[in-house]
């Protein structure tokens, strides 16, 4: 057993800290005390979070923003976005997005 390996201390500290983040509001928010301003502030977090997760993975290409036609993920992502906006369904979005990306990768060699 490599009990002295530095990974163990790092792991426990990170695990504990991450759990505190995860538990924070879920654990503290009781039925007695939900200020309305709190819910108001949080209303748009899901939309903002999803957008912030999606857009950089289309636009950032090799470490930099790339809005040109050589950025295949952007092209595939825009095609998928049209499907997502019209169908609002996961599988058609996934099929068109991955399909377009693979096709473009095949065509551009």
């Amino acid at each position: 057993m490599h009990i002295n390996h530095p990974i163990w201390f790092a792991m426990l500290a990170i695990g504990a800290g991450t759990f505190v983040f995860r538990f924070s509001f879920i654990g503290m928010l009781s039925r007695l005390n939900v200020p309305q301003s709190f819910e108001r502030i949080l209303k748009y977090i899901p939309v903002a979070v999803l957008s912030a997760l999606i857009v950089p993975s289309l636009v950032i290409h090799q470490g930099h923003p790339d809005l040109s036609f050589s950025n295949l993920r952007l092209l595939a992502g825009v095609a998928a976005m049209v499907v997502a906006a019209t169908t609002r369904k996961i599988f058609p979005t996934l099929a068109v997005g991955m399909g377009t990306l693979w096709l473009l990768m095949y065509l551009t060699g």
Binding site: I7, T18, R22, F25, A84
Partner: protein, 229 residues
Amino acid sequence: MSQRVLFVAGAKATAPLLLGILPFAVIAGATAVAADLPLLAAHALSFVIFAGASQLATIELLDRGTPIAIVVLTALLINLRMLMYSASIAPHFKNLSSKWKTLIAYLLTDQAFALSIARYEQEISEVGKRWFYLGAAFSLWFFWQLGTAAGIYMGAALPPELSFEFAIPLTFMALLFPLIRNRPSWIAAATAAVVAVLGHGLPFNLGFIAAALSGSVAALLAEGWSHAH
């Protein structure tokens, strides 16, 4: 709907995401072995931390001989977004016992948050919310452990050129559009997108956190503006 039906619905909802998560988990496991971590520690990372990006950063930084305090701080900054998810989803679980809240908190991930928040847009009972979340979150946890183990014992066998990780933003797209219903929510999405792109080079994923917060604030300002006119 019964508890079991909702648990299964939650688990099934993770299917498209697994396409992106499994290869990521395999890489996390393979990287741990490549960095000469003890076998038990390679598994334990996925159980104790259970957050992919921070696990990879931890392995990478330790391998480079970074001081432990810096390693811990970096990983915690990467995981700071969990605080935001916890705050956003907490109102749905406010009446549960601390035992349930502990389990729910341990299983909280980007994907469990996104799938559940999207599902809660439709009518669903309080009990239903809990079981849908648990189905989704447990499925993600289970496949994360499975994928990590596969990476530990078999190495990274998946061809990276197939870009399966692209399945994750694609799935999030389909979850995003039903949430955009009015002008403030368009403004939230657009602001977050711009800030996330501009801030992508910032360390510790801080660009992402700035994007989520500024998107949210911009929408509130837009809301206030439209009320005033």
